[in-house]
C-alpha cells in the first residue's frame, strides 16, 4: 500500500518535473532592457562580507544577484549607483526582495576594510552586501568580470583615486551571468530586468 503510494508519488514528481521542463522550453525568450549576455555561469568567487563572514557566490543560487564594483572613497559614481540600486531594490515586492541580493565589491581593498564597508552599505540598505578580500583573492574576480581598474593620482587630501569599471552585473537565480547595465541606466530599467530574471 505504502509502496504504491510512494511509487505513485515518484511518478507524479517525475511528471511534474517533465511538465515544468516542457513549460520552460516553451517559455517566451526573456527580453532585457540592458545588454543581454550569452547565458553562462557567473564566475564563482569567495570573498569576505561586511560582517567578516565568508561570502560564496555559489551560495546565492535561487537568488538573482546584482553586482557592482567600486570603492567607498568614490564620492560621485559609486554612491549614485548604490543609491540607484537601492531604488531598484525598493521597487521590488517583499517576496521578490527575498530572492535578490545586491553586492558591492571593493576595488580598493587597501582602504575598504570590513568596518568601512559595513557603514557604507548600510547607507543604502542593511541587506546589501559589501565584499572585500586580499588582493590575491580579488584579482581573479576583477579578471573574471572584466573589471578594468587603475589607480590615478589624486591630491594630498584624497590620496590615490581609482578609475574602475562601472557596469552593473545581473546574475540569474540559477547562477548564470545574464545582463549588463550601465551605472547611469534608469532604476526602472534595471528593476524590469531583475523582475524578468525572477519570473
Amino acid at each position: 500500500m505504502f509502496e504504491h503510494l510512494r511509487t505513485g508519488a515518484r511518478v507524479l514528481a517525475v511528471a511534474v518535473a517533465l511538465l515544468a521542463a516542457a513549460g520552460c522550453a516553451h517559455r517566451a525568450p526573456q527580453h532585457f532592457t540592458g545588454t543581454a549576455l550569452p547565458a553562462k555561469p557567473a564566475p564563482d568567487f569567495r570573498l569576505t562580507d561586511q560582517n567578516g563572514r565568508p561570502f560564496d557566490l555559489a551560495d546565492q543560487h535561487g537568488r538573482a544577484v546584482i553586482l557592482f564594483f567600486g570603492y567607498t572613497h568614490c564620492p560621485d559614481v559609486c554612491p549614485a549607483t548604490m543609491a540607484q540600486l537601492a531604488r531598484v531594490y525598493h521597487t521590488l515586492s517583499p517576496q521578490q526582495r527575498e530572492h535578490v541580493r545586491v553586492a558591492f565589491v571593493t576595488v580598493d581593498p587597501q582602504r575598504d576594510d570590513v568596518k568601512t564597508l559595513k557603514q557604507y552599505v548600510n547607507l543604502y540598505d542593511p541587506s546589501f552586501v559589501g565584499l572585500t578580500g586580499t588582493p590575491a583573492q580579488l584579482a581573479p574576480v576583477y579578471d573574471a568580470y572584466h573589471v578594468w581598474h587603475q589607480r590615478l593620482r589624486g591630491t594630498k587630501a584624497t590620496g590615490y583615486l581609482v578609475a574602475h569599471g562601472s557596469s552593473i552585473y545581473l546574475i540569474d537565480p540559477s547562477g548564470d551571468l545574464r545582463v549588463l547595465h550601465d551605472w547611469q541606466d534608469p532604476a526602472s530599467a534595471i528593476a524590469a530586468d531583475v523582475k524578468e530574471l525572477l519570473a
Partner: protein
C-alpha cells in the same frame, strides 16, 4: 548693519535679482544637493556667473569636512566582455575652473562635482550644511546644501 547696507546697494545696482547667501552678488548658486555619506561626500548644483567678467573657481570648503575639492568624473574605455562594451569611470581633481560671463558650472553625477573629504560626522538624509566656494579675485560665496537620498 553696514555690510547689509552694502549688500542692499549691490542688489539695487543689479536690479535686485536673486541675492546669494553671502557677498559676491555676481554669483548665483541653485539646485544644490548632497547624498548621505560616511567619510566622503559630494556636492552638486549649478554655479552661475551673472557678471560680465570670467569667474575663476579656485577652492571650496565646508565646516562638515576637513577638505573640499573640485573634481571631474569622466568616462573611460574599459574594453569588452563577450563582445559587449564595458563602461568605466575615472576622476581627477580640478585646480581651477573658469566660468565664462553669464555662463555656469554645472555640478552633477558623472561630471564636475565638489568632493568633501574626511567628514567630521556622517551626513544623514535631511541634514543641511553650508559650503563656501572661493574665487580667484578673493570673492567667496556660501550656500546651503541639503542631504537627499537620490541617485541623480
Amino acid at each position: 548693519m553696514r555690510r547689509l547696507a552694502i549688500l542692499a546697494a549691490c542688489a539695487a545696482l543689479l536690479g535686485g535679482a536673486s541675492l546669494p547667501a553671502s557677498a559676491a552678488p555676481s554669483v548665483a548658486v541653485s539646485g544644490t544637493w548632497s547624498r548621505p555619506a560616511v567619510d566622503t561626500a559630494v556636492v552638486y548644483g549649478v554655479v552661475r556667473n551673472e557678471g560680465p567678467h570670467p569667474l575663476v573657481v579656485v577652492g571650496a570648503s565646508s565646516p562638515v569636512s576637513r577638505n573640499a575639492e573640485l573634481h571631474e568624473s569622466m568616462t573611460m574605455n574599459a574594453g569588452k566582455m563577450d563582445g559587449m562594451a564595458m563602461s568605466a569611470m575615472g576622476m581627477q581633481p580640478v585646480a581651477r575652473y573658469v566660468i565664462a560671463p553669464h555662463g555656469a558650472l554645472t555640478l552633477k553625477p558623472g561630471g564636475y562635482h565638489l568632493m568633501l573629504l574626511g567628514l567630521r560626522a556622517p551626513l544623514a538624509e535631511g541634514r543641511r550644511f553650508p559650503v563656501t566656494l572661493r574665487f580667484a579675485d578673493g570673492e567667496r560665496v556660501t550656500f546651503t546644501v541639503p542631504v537627499e537620498n537620490r541617485a541623480f
